[in-house]
Point group: C2
Chain length 507, copies 2
């Protein structure tokens, strides 16, 4: 028996059903009630059920169906995955209006950090500071609160990547990336113009109002095939993951480089993977030198997420830093999905061990707020109102992020996630050995719970998951992506592994 | 004595200083304490001071200065207008950390609807629903709450413009406009393709991933010179108000039409104004027919706000509707600044009396949430995930908007604003007669409190305003724009008029 399987077996024994669980028969999978006694480990969420609870034969149940019908009258529901009762959701469990409770390892597209109805976040939400922030929302660039510096220092900036002590706040990942792009363009033009003190020419001023060069410069952002950076017009020009995101929407003539397509297991393909990475770096350099719309910055996800959980090695990112530095092109790490602990480090780019970090790091999702960190004041535009909008972020969400960071601290959740990720990965290796056709290209080793694998019947896999009590998401065309919260624990991993084995048996 | 002046005098008499106000001497304007006894009218905010309170000789005072210095270390402060203590702000009065309280007719760039620390909004902010919305933020397109349909119906949709029963929610005005643009492009391509059931071609799919036509089509949004629609890459390509917004940022090759430059007073320039409007309509039609990147939509503000409070007549907008309809080009009314009551109607485009309303109406600012309303399900893209992002809005802000709408209802604030706007306008006409060089091109008659005028020393005017106890904003290059909250009352108008007279005397 391989070690991985022995470990899995031992863990399963530790879990022990508290009562004889109603047997999961393929004929009646939906009536299963998973009832587990928790292992000795202290749960972060004491009100969580011991396991998934399935009350209806299928999802959506009748109550959910009624709510979906009502919502369809006025809102987009064709992308609806599950109708949710958030008041009954708790910790890692998402509830629906029919009383079903699923273990949620999708977590609102990787954006819930520390569990549903986290009591500490509820305290933050009820605090006088939060009430003030909600009902007196400031235009932060013009009329900041006297508490704003302190909110930044104790929250958003406390967990800034090392070397970054400045931030522009935003509302979501997409606009965070776009303001980072704007900073990159202004920085580049400033270099070309001869420094921050050189004024705009009348020609620049006049042509900018006509959307023409030189005022509206012929510059680009380079991104990678398979990347996702958002769906506004600038970010969508960089997003290259799926046609459904892009089709019919005008785009800038910006370049894309091939992202290395690593082969798994990594140990067995070291040489060809290294070659793929070098080829990608060479292509980046070639595009920087020759693309008809010169790049002012390269934007890259530490792990391509929407695009199918595509990884690259630290060596790749080190070279990417070198080649961008060499050509005076800025490097933006898009940590919207990878940031805030899920990879076992607070920021995924910490895995790269760079001497010279990225120039900007963008964040959102689990931060519940958004923005970009920057290292040098040179990336603060040379005049006011160049990087400006009405709200420029939201103190209410900044307070929430501070509360999230405090929860991360209190439970040491980043290190916890590194450990539970290793545990989960080992168990997945066991499943992959047992069902190699269902757990292909298992990836994310040493990357916390940021784990994925390919399944040839991926969509069916995800649909069936609900009937076994788990909510799982996909990415790319065939990837099952795991995006548990930071409070995902060993006993949740056991339930998940158990459910996934049942899913593939039923496929 | 002209009627306007008599009315102003009578109103001033009704106000009566409660005590002999310390005389405003030009030498010591900063020590003035305005102390007014309220007229018989019932104040909406019972805890408001009777008038502005000035505690420091100048703004920023020492406490504010200390906070500004602290914030400058990590955040953009060069655009800072005033450091604010929101906990001490109340109703129409904005407070700073030094104890100064100014009558605020700028209201966070026109985004505070019903007063600082509104107690009814505080109740909403403390409600269990709000706490739930804050700590369990959903990915609305995938995992909406079972309460979402009801939140929409009782809030965002309850006050939808007549004929609009669908909405896509967003986070701020800029992304609301961009998703409206995307809807327009998808709609246009769908028409060209032959309807919603005609599938994308392999060529479209493949070219979209390269940001090239036909997948990324050669289409545009037509906007007007002087317009402001946001500062993301798509919206900034439409924004044409100031070079500082646009310079160094790549832009799409989209067309701009001249917005009619009306002359005031309108009665004296009826003929030439009508000609200017017709010329603008002709230019729109010409651009629709001939611009090298064909427009899928025209976006227009009912009143150009950032661009200097530029108005056009209902006849202009009626013709704009006709010409867009004639050429199958969509019409988007950008009501981000004009919406939610400030013009004396809930939506400013109601002033146009259109039989055939705009196709989409975008909103944000005073709504505290954002999105676009649309009239026909044909503007809902033909497949899921075409109009999608992680959060797709924010239930917490939607709850806040519902609370705002309830306040508007409770006090009939839209009609109130129409009336107090007329009162204010009449008094301004009085000032304009007395000081014609300081109150030029007075505009916004019959448009609630959405009033502006030009002043040759505008920046000095705005700076001096604080020393007379009022916070006022500008727009364009010479306009003083008034953007009071909806709870701005007659006695506030009297204080404002009094302060403005002092300001121009001191210029």
């Amino acid at each position: 028996m391989p070690a991985a399987l022995r470990a899995a077996g031992a863990a399963k024994a530790a879990l022990r059903p508290a009562m004889a669980a109603r047997v999961v028969s393929p004929a009646r999978p939906f009536t299963t009630v998973g009832a587990y006694r928790l292992a000795a480990v202290k749960p972060f969420h004491k009100d969580e059920p011991a396991g998934p609870i399935l009350k209806t034969k299928s999802l959506p149940g009748p109550e959910s169906t009624r709510h979906i019908k009502e919502l369809t009258e006025s809102f987009e529901t064709r992308s609806l995955n599950m109708m949710v009762d958030y008041t009954k959701s708790v910790g890692n469990y998402i509830a629906d209006p029919d009383g079903n409770m699923l273990l949620d390892v999708y977590a609102q597209i990787a954006s819930i950090p520390v569990g549903y109805n986290n009591p500490e976040l509820a305290k933050v939400a009820k605090s006088p500071e939060m009430v003030d922030a909600i009902i007196n929302r400031p235009a932060l660039g013009n009329f900041p609160s006297h508490t704003w510096a302190s909110i930044l220092k104790t929250g958003i900036l406390k967990y800034a990547p090392k070397g970054f002590d400045n931030v522009y706040t935003a509302m979501a990942g997409s606009d965070a990336n776009e303001i980072a792009f704007k900073a990159a363009f202004m920085y580049r033009r400033q270099l070309e113009r001869g420094g921050p003190d050189v004024d705009f020419t009348p020609e620049e001023i006049e042509s900018a109002m006509r959307n023409e060069a030189p005022g509206s410069p012929n510059l680009s952002i380079l991104s990678f095939k398979g990347s996702f950076h958002g769906r506004l017009f600038g970010t969508l020009s960089c997003t290259r993951s799926k046609p459904i995101h892009k089709i019919d929407i005008p785009a800038f003539d910006w370049p894309q480089a091939t992202f290395p397509q690593l082969k798994y297991p990594l140990e067995q393909h070291a040489e060809e993977n290294a070659k793929a990475e070098q080829a990608s770096i060479d292509e980046v350099e070639q595009l920087i030198k020759t693309w008809r719309v010169p790049p002012a910055a390269v934007i890259v996800e530490p792990i391509q997420s929407e695009g199918g959980d595509n990884h690259a090695s630290p060596a790749f990112f080190q070279k990417l830093r070198e080649v961008t530095r060499k050509h005076d092109v800025l490097l933006i790490a898009d940590e919207v999905q990878t940031g805030i602990g899920a990879t076992g480090k607070f920021w995924a780019h910490e895995h790269w061990n760079l001497q010279d970090p990225p120039d900007m790091v963008t964040f959102s999702k689990k931060a519940q707020t958004a923005g970009y960190y920057y290292r040098t004041k040179a990336l603060r535009p040379n005049k006011p109102y160049r990087q400006f909008n009405t709200w420029m972020g939201d103190p209410a969400k900044a307070l929430l992020f501070r509360g999230i960071c405090n929860e991360i601290d209190r439970h040491d959740l980043v290190n916890h996630t590194a450990k539970v990720g290793n545990y989960l990965f080992t168990k997945l290796e066991g499943l992959a050995q047992k069902y190699p056709e269902h757990f292909k290209n298992l990836r994310g080793k040493g990357q916390g719970t940021f784990i994925a694998f390919d399944n040839p019947k991926r969509d069916e896999f995800l649909a069936k998951a609900k009937s076994f009590g788990v909510n799982i998401g996909g990415s790319g065309t065939t990837a099952v992506r795991l995006r548990p919260m930071l409070t995902f624990q060993q006993h949740h991993a056991d339930i998940l592994i158990d459910a996934m084995e049942k899913i593939v048996k039923a496929l």
